[in-house]
């Protein structure tokens, strides 16, 4: 059973089509990269996956169950989400930010703390130095690492990444991409990763889905994707040189 399945998903808002008849599945352990320009419907696809939005037609199944049948809170807590502008709570310390979902889930305080310390370590942020800091006392890259740690905190089977590295300088971006690959190797996580950067897509994806004005044009592994010949695929691949 695929972890995530989009079945003829369309999404409209105010008479405007954002997604049209999108079909794909994500199997456990995969990283599906949704590649597309701004406004192609990438972020909407993520929000439809964790039940922040619901398809106007078709359905999305997570672990075999339609997102409409899931308890909306349960579903969101089972899916880690790393959002575009990080969205750390400015009035929470790093420790409270990372421990958010486990705390909401009612883990004992000691377990939350242990988990936070371990995750910060894994993300390359020495806990004793960073746990008591506030988000404004961190660099962009560090904030993004905290965002990833927060998404991982309750050990969800699925992670959603919404252009998480878009605003970072190129060096930090490559560092975080490498860390993402390490995480995948070590934790065997499944993710859907949204980006407009074809280089990032080729580096991180086990499969790449190209979204063009709400339609899924190509869904292929990176090797096949390099040979894709649709107009939009050529436009993206052309930006490689």
């Amino acid at each position: 059973m695929p972890l995530v399945e989009f079945r003829d998903v369309s999404y409209e808002v105010g008479g405007r089509r954002i997604l049209s008849d999108v079909n794909f599945t994500v199997e456990a352990g995969e990283t599906l990269v949704l590649l597309g320009r701004s406004g192609s419907g990438k972020t909407t696809a993520l929000k439809i996956t964790n039940g922040m939005l619901f398809p106007t037609r078709g359905e999305v199944r997570v672990e075999g169950k339609s997102t409409r049948e899931w308890d909306p809170i349960r579903l969101k807590r089972r899916i880690g989400y790393v959002i575009q502008e990080v969205g750390l709570f400015p009035h929470f310390t790093v420790e409270r930010n990372v421990g958010l979902v486990p705390t909401l889930e009612g883990w004992p305080a000691g377990d939350v703390e242990q988990r936070v310390v371990r995750l910060l370590g894994e993300m390359g942020l020495p806990p004793e130095e960073y746990r008591a800091r506030y988000p404004r006392q961190l660099s962009g890259g560090q904030r993004q690492r905290v965002g990833v740690a927060r998404a991982l905190a309750a050990d969800p089977p699925l992670l959603l990444f919404d252009e998480p590295f878009g605003a970072l300088d190129p060096v930090t971006r490559v560092e975080l991409q490498r860390q993402f690959l390490d995480l995948r190797r070590n934790l065997q996580k499944t993710s859907i990763f949204v980006t407009h950067d074809v280089r990032e897509a080729l580096r991180l994806g086990t499969r790449i889905g190209l979204l063009t004005r709400g339609r899924l044009e190509v869904a292929a592994d990176p090797q096949e994707f390099r040979n894709a010949r649709t107009e939009e695929a050529l436009a993206f691949l052309g930006s490689l040189d």
Binding site: K76, Y81, H91
Partner: protein, 205 residues
């Protein structure tokens, strides 16, 4: 004679404080929840903010006058005064609660939803703490105005420091006017300073 004046001053200052504190407590109890409601019911925004703004444009003496003949809430005395003061204090509290919550960074709100917070958890743990300095600024403005407006209470038998002022005006006695005005001004300054301090504490956290 002097002891008499001091006693009188203490009593009227006490009355004034009671007027201000009861009006502010009621205004906060009404204004903050209504402000929260406004962030969730867009349709109400125009009506409630409009009503509160109109209240503020009515000259205070006229508002006291309008309230007197109304059954239950009207009449001569403290209750009418407090109701009028609440109506004045409502707008800044209501508006600042609404604005404070509405201006919480969209990315923060979105991530609270994405992490699976219930709307109650989001309100208590994210929106209210982040809006607290703005809400408090509204309470501070409302308190300072209320201290001043409450001096008019004496006109309809509500007591307070206005008694000195009205008596002084009637008998052209500047000393009496000052005996009412100076303590009222000091009270306003103290409220402004004290609440400002709390506000700074909150925004640093």
């Amino acid at each position: 004679m002097r002891a008499d004046l001091v006693n009188n001053l203490l009593q009227l200052t006490g009355e004034h404080l009671v007027l201000v504190l009861s009006a502010m407590a009621a205004a906060m109890l009404i204004g903050v929840p209504l402000g929260i409601l406004l962030t969730r019911r867009a349709g109400l925004q125009r009506w409630l903010l409009g009503f509160a703004s109109v209240m503020q444009t009515i000259p205070s003496l006229a508002l006291f006058g309008f309230l007197i003949p109304i059954p239950f809430i009207g009449g001569i005395g403290k209750r009418t005064v407090i109701i009028a003061l609440v109506m004045y204090a409502l707008l800044p509290i209501l508006r600042n609660t609404f604005v404070g919550i509405a201006s919480v960074d969209a990315a923060v709100r979105e991530s609270a939803v994405a992490m699976g917070m219930t709307s109650g958890q989001m309100l208590r743990q994210v929106q209210l703490p982040l809006a607290a300095p703005t809400i408090l600024a509204g309470i501070r403005v409302a308190t300072v105005t209320t201290v001043g407006t409450a001096t008019i209470a004496a006109a309809i038998g509500g007591g307070g420091l206005g008694v000195f002022i009205f008596r002084g005006v009637a008998s052209v006695d500047s000393a009496q006017i000052l005996a009412g005005a100076v303590p009222a001004a000091l009270m306003a300054l103290a409220a402004d300073g004290g609440l400002g301090w709390v506000e700074r504490k909150l925004s640093r956290a």
